[in-house]
């Protein structure tokens, strides 16, 4: 099995599925000859040509709006939004149109597309190259939201996302695009949507994370272990619909929860997880579930490493929770 980074694994998934399924196409700004600003689509233009790897005008609303139309025709577009921060011009098309197409037509029509977009901070991008907008889409009924943390999952989840009948937002943690490496099988396999992974088993505190913050959670868990606190680290992988069974099983064991995410804390997905845990496992809770998240400010440029919920901020939360 070849070792790949995230960029390579996602590229491999796209290439694999485009070879297999002629309906699949890639579109977006700079996805063509140049292979995307992060080079995720590199080589696809050469292999599949300009009808399946399409450089578009600079309009995210146009990318998603026309992709919805293409999907209605029966193609399976995989549009790229260059940075998730630039998804907002397409917000109306995503929440008003894409998410509601199947429902409002009583199942007569569906618009199946996979929107790929890099998320997260730590690359010195400031306000507009660092955001993690997953909560906005989780709040919108009709969408699925995925965020892999490693190359194996990235490929397997992307293939599963493209084959899934529903629209998927596929968020790629750009901070670990090249840093996260691992063995990736050649050829076909999928990682089922809606299933979390127990990345590190433990019995004292459940730490829930995804994407680039998973590594911070693991680092904090290592430190906590030195102080006698064993964390069970869950990598959600699919954010919505979330793997509630995996979460409840872990919380039943530990009774203590820390949720980690980069997006601002308030009304972030962490709030939903805390609320769900209350609804499903209240009697098992021995401490209040707490959130270590991005602060409720725009994403800052110079102070990004202070802003992000890195291991040094997760660790005290874990220890406090363990000792509550």
């Amino acid at each position: 099995m070849p070792e790949m980074n995230m960029v390579g694994a996602i590229n491999d998934a796209l290439r694999h599925e485009m070879r297999k399924d002629p309906r699949v196409l890639v579109m977006g700004e700079d996805v063509g000859k140049v292979g995307g600003v992060f080079r995720v689509t590199q080589g696809l233009f050469e292999e599949f040509g300009e009808d399946r790897v399409i450089d578009t005008p600079l309009s995210e609303g146009g990318i998603i709006g026309t992709a919805i139309g293409m999907a209605l025709y029966g193609l399976v577009p995989v549009p790229e939004i260059q940075f998730a921060d630039f998804i907002y011009p397409a917000f109306d098309q995503i929440v008003s149109e894409l998410a509601k197409m199947r429902y409002r037509s009583g199942g007569e029509y569906a618009s199946k597309i996979v929107i790929r977009s890099p998320v997260g901070g730590g690359i010195r991008g400031g306000h507009y190259h660092s955001q993690s907008p997953e909560a906005l889409f989780i709040h919108t009924a009709g969408l699925k939201v995925v965020c892999p943390s490693n190359p194996y999952d990235a490929k397997g989840l992307l293939l599963a996302s493209i084959r899934d009948p529903d629209p998927v937002l596929f968020f790629e943690p750009k901070r670990v695009y090249r840093a996260a490496k691992g063995d990736v099988p050649e050829g076909d396999y999928t990682v089922e949507l809606g299933k979390a992974a127990v990345t590190r088993p433990g019995k004292h505190v459940t730490v829930i994370a995804w994407g680039a913050m998973l590594y911070e959670a693991l680092a904090a868990a290592d430190e906590a272990a030195k102080q006698g606190v064993e964390c069970e680290v869950l990598d959600l992988r699919t954010l919505w619909p979330v793997d509630i069974d995996a979460i409840v099983a872990s919380v039943k064991k530990t009774g203590r929860v820390v949720v980690v995410h980069e997006a601002p804390k308030t009304c972030g997905f962490g709030a939903e997880l805390v609320a769900l845990i209350n609804e499903k496992a209240f009697v098992h809770l021995e401490a209040p579930p707490i959130r270590v998240a991005g602060f409720d400010t725009p994403f800052p440029y110079s102070l990004e490493m202070e802003y992000l919920p890195l291991a040094h901020r997760i660790l005290p939360a874990v220890l406090d929770t363990a000792r509550f």
Partner: protein, 326 residues
């Protein structure tokens, strides 16, 4: 790229006589239907209704110019056109009353229907959003080398939306086989067309996108038909999109105009008209009574179609609702 203006009236349009009669009959049906629904709305029996009264020539002229394989991306006032293209009247009325017979399962406001039978896409309320869908759809057909054209319908108010800009821009760049039919009735609710743009007309907005613009009299079935037919042919030849501005006005009645045309050519008489009107009345009486007596969709159906299969959280929510008193 040259913007062209077609003559405002073309009585020699290549529409076969029988087809004009069929169109006229449907225009009369559409008018009667609108009048009945407006009335029901005033009586409070209908939440809202998007009427097409006075705009039938544009709607039917556009629809009549399509080939069977072509598609319509509408926005709420085109029900008459959908009936002409094969949507059953009963389906439309079930939609209007949001009842269990609605293909859309009663989920959307009257007017925003979908019909695969009529090759009508799913409309929504936000103004303009369907424009980019039409472009993507037509572009996909082109990529697949299918001979399919999409007709994108919208009002002049929609030209101010971002989707209009982006839709025309993408259509220009990718030479998508799409026809943009802008129905300029002079108003977006209370806002006059002069508040939508400082340009002297809407058709010339095509220039900004390398898309030819055409102006027609929107009260003239034949003029609209001719312009849309030419645009459909152009699109089918691989030459790309056209923007048509059809200006409607309250000064003449577009339905009466077709009647005059038919009568002048001895294809229709007062007697035919009276007979047709009474047939329509009877048909509507029955269909409306039926639709209004249909039950609403069952409450459990609320959780279907959010996704193709029902995920755990919607299962739970359905159970929560089922436990509730009705």
């Amino acid at each position: 790229m040259v913007a062209t203006v077609t003559p405002l009236r073309t009585l020699d349009a290549p529409l076969a006589d029988e087809r004009v009669v069929a169109l006229y009959k449907h225009m009369v049906l559409a008018r009667a239907l609108d009048e009945r629904l407006v009335h029901l709305q005033k009586e409070g029996k209908l939440a809202s209704h998007l009427s097409a009264i006075g705009e039938e020539a544009t709607i039917f002229g556009g629809i009549a110019a399509l080939r069977e394989q072509d598609w319509v991306f509408h926005y709420g006032r085109e029900a008459g056109g959908a009936l002409f293209r094969g949507m059953p009247l009963a389906s439309y009325l079930s939609h209007v009353f949001g009842s269990s017979g609605d293909g859309g399962k009663g989920r959307q406001m009257p007017g925003t229907f979908a019909s695969r039978a009529a090759r009508f896409a799913s409309a929504s309320a936000p103004i303009g959003t369907q424009i980019t869908h039409a472009v993507g759809f037509a572009w996909a057909a082109k990529l697949k080398k299918d001979d399919v054209v999409a007709l994108s319908c919208f009002g002049e108010g929609a030209t101010s939306s971002g989707d209009f800009h982006t839709g025309l821009n993408f259509a220009g760049v990718f030479k998508a086989p799409v026809v943009f039919l802008c129905r300029n009735n002079g108003w977006a609710i209370s806002v006059p067309a002069e508040r939508q743009t400082a340009a002297s007309s809407f058709w010339l907005k095509g220039i900004a996108y390398g898309v030819p613009g055409v102006a027609v009299d929107g009260n003239d079935l034949f003029a609209v038909h001719k312009a849309v037919a030419a645009a459909v042919q152009r699109a089918a030849r691989g030459e790309g999109a056209t923007l048509i501005e059809a200006t409607t006005s309250r000064k003449t009645d577009p339905v009466a105009r077709v009647k005059e045309h038919l009568e002048a050519r001895h294809l229709w008489s007062e007697k035919d008209d009276a007979e047709h009107a009474s047939r329509v009345r009877a048909e509507l009486d029955v269909a409306l009574a039926l639709a209004q007596s249909e039950p609403l969709p069952p409450r459990e159906s609320m959780f279907d179609d959010v996704y193709r299969s029902v995920p755990w959280h919607l299962h739970e929510e359905r159970e929560e609702l089922q436990k509730c008193p009705k």
